[in-house]
């Protein structure tokens, strides 16, 4: 008995040690994110302090500079428009195709493989012809530019993942709806998408985050009107002689907040999407 309970407590101690180690590692791991967060709230004298200061007088001055003196508010709004617009388009067009492929095997395995291959084309390889195409159709630097251009990357992703999610829904319910005379679009909106909601949310999060974070297409296809926040960050660093690190950190914090907030708020959906996209 004594040996057994001794063994048990050794195990419990081991678990506790492991837990503590994981939490400690996590704190070290997330330290860079914490650091840029503090940078955003530091006065110029603290930003460049060496040795670095960990306790300081916080200020909102950097946010005032980023949003007031530069056009960062405009860029953030542009990012929102591009990301939301593209997510909506990709989900609408992509789920429709995913349903056709899942339920009717349209195109067979060739179409699916084709979609998968298109998904792997790097943006950098298509950007030159895509730029020439958008110039030709006078679509450079409009609010439609990025929602359309990001279809090239998000659409194959949506088709591939939504197909996997729709596969998991039993067919019986749809069948009885068809007997009741439901149209294909009605079927999709009233039955399939609500049933696939967890998958739909996961897929949408990834579309949004991708579009929000994208750099190459946004740099080349937009100018002053539709330029996004991520592009703004790169121009800050390359064009200004004296970089205002406080304001830049504040801007960077604004750029990384929506993806992180989405991830924490919808964490269960997120894990589904991450593994489904890669392994299914």
């Amino acid at each position: 008995m004594a040996a057994a309970s001794g063994h048990l407590s050794a195990q419990a101690v081991g678990a506790r040690v492991r837990y503590t180690a994981v939490v400690f590692m996590l704190l070290v791991y997330l330290f860079p994110i914490y650091w840029i967060l503090t940078m955003a709230f530091k006065l110029p004298k603290d930003t460049f302090a060496y040795p670095p200061v960990f306790v300081f007088q916080p200020t909102l001055e950097n946010f005032a500079t980023a949003f007031g003196k530069s056009n960062f508010l405009r860029l953030t709004l542009n990012s929102t428009i591009a990301a939301l617009g593209n997510t909506f388009l990709s989900i609408a067009v992509g789920s429709l195709a995913a349903w056709g492929i899942s339920r009717h095997r349209i195109g067979g395995s060739w179409l699916l493989l084709g979609v998968l291959s298109v998904r792997m084309i790097p943006a950098m390889t298509i950007i030159i012809p895509l730029f020439l195409l958008f110039v030709q159709f006078r679509l450079v630097d409009s609010y439609l530019t990025l929602p359309l251009a990001y279809l090239a990357i998000n659409l194959p992703f949506v088709v591939w993942t939504m197909k996997a999610f729709i596969d998991d829904i039993p067919y019986d319910i749809e069948e009885s709806a068809i007997i009741d005379g439901c149209s294909t679009l009605g079927l999709l909106c009233k039955i399939v998408l609500p049933l696939a909601l967890p998958g739909l949310v996961a897929t949408s999060i990834f579309c949004f985050i991708f579009a929000w974070n994208e750099l190459i297409l946004a740099t080349v296809l937009t100018r002053l009107t539709a330029r996004t926040a991520v592009v703004g960050l790169t121009t800050f660093i390359s064009q200004e002689a004296e970089i205002n690190w406080g304001a830049l950190s504040a801007a960077a914090l604004v750029v990384m907040t929506p993806p992180l907030a989405l991830a924490v708020a919808l964490r269960n959906y997120l894990l589904r999407g991450l593994t489904a996209g890669a392994l299914k």
Binding site: P32, W35, I36, L116, M124, L155, T234, L274, T275, A278
Partner: protein, 322 residues
């Protein structure tokens, strides 16, 4: 099976336009199915992909084979593979290819090793462990540009945190972004920081779906923890590790934003990856045809890695189904 039986009582005229996936096989099935399948559902997606992905790839290849004149009225001149001959004689191209390959190999292998370690560490059940796993994933969701900015601050030679912590350990300040080898190391470190958790997530999913029986059998046979890891766990999760490795390699060939912000390809051209090389040639030096040729080569590299990935994925799917 139950689906088919259920449809037998349906009157023929009201048989759904949307037949079940287990639809009739053979030629009769193909022809009768042709009129019923709602092909229009895939039409918008196909149209988008044709215009936004397929056509650009074809146009890219065309561009790389032509010399396009800026002068109006002068038709583009077909120059065959000359562009590629110029590219292959350009030391800048070879430098970019070498840097890219080094970056891809270094990051994906380090991420695999660290991701495996992290997955093993996080493979236990306790309250809040799920939340801890999600928190580890946060860096993967941050824009590479922001990761680059963060690491510019951390690696700064004068007031950077990394030099400060090294100083506490008695190591002198390093000019991280000014020395070619250190700049490359910094780039790899930033990428590893961002993407190791993704590797962890995939491997952890594989670890958690491992069957319990072989491990119980090994334990009764007196296998040590190390032996059951080496002879059971590793072989069982190897397919997932291979897929994860290739997936990361595929992504690392595309690296752009991180390099643009962190090193700008420098010092000189020490970290000038292919993506940056193409971008600068096409949109800063206005050499679109040269850049198109390099882009075609980048595409070929991607296709090589991607077909390996697809083959592995299909194989693991097939073995999962049987």
């Amino acid at each position: 099976m139950t689906v088919i039986r259920k449809r037998e009582w349906l009157p023929v005229f009201s048989r759904p336009a949307t037949a079940a996936p287990e639809q009739v096989q053979g030629w009769g099935g193909v022809f009768s199915g042709l009129s019923r399948k709602p092909y229009w559902t895939v039409a918008p997606a196909l149209a988008c992909l044709l215009v936004l992905s397929i056509y650009p790839v074809l146009h890219l290849v065309w561009l790389s084979l032509h010399n396009v004149r800026i002068l109006p009225g002068v038709p583009p001149e077909f120059i065959g593979l000359k562009q590629y001959a110029w590219i292959l004689n350009d030391p800048d191209f070879w430098n970019s290819l070498r840097v890219t390959v080094q970056f891809v190999v270094a990051t994906s292998l380090i991420e695999l090793a660290l991701g495996l370690g992290l997955a093993l560490l996080l493979n236990f059940d306790a309250p809040w462990v799920g939340v801890l796993r999600v928190l580890f994933l946060l860096p993967t969701l941050v824009a590479p540009v922001v990761v680059g900015l963060t690491w510019v601050l951390l690696l700064n030679g004068e007031f950077g945190l990394i030099n400060y912590f090294l100083g506490l350990l008695g190591i002198t300040k390093q000019a991280w972004l000014a020395r070619p080898d250190l700049a490359f190391a910094g780039l790899v470190a930033a990428d590893v920081w961002q993407w190791t958790p993704f590797m962890m997530l995939l491997i952890l999913a594989a670890l958690r779906s491992l069957p319990a029986e072989p491990f119980e059998a090994a334990a009764t046979d007196g296998a040590s923890a190390w032996q059951s890891f080496w002879y059971l766990t590793l072989p069982l999760i190897r397919p997932v590790m291979a897929v994860a490795l290739l997936l990361r390699a595929l992504d690392a060939t595309k690296v752009f934003g991180l390099v643009l912000v962190l090193t700008g390809g420098g010092p000189a051209v020490a970290t000038n990856v292919l993506g940056l090389h193409i971008f600068r040639k096409a949109f800063e030096r206005n050499q679109m045809e040269y850049a198109s040729g390099v882009a075609v080569i980048l595409l070929l590299v991607t296709v090589a890695v991607a077909s390996l990935y697809t083959a592995l994925l299909l194989r693991s799917q097939a073995s999962g189904r049987s």
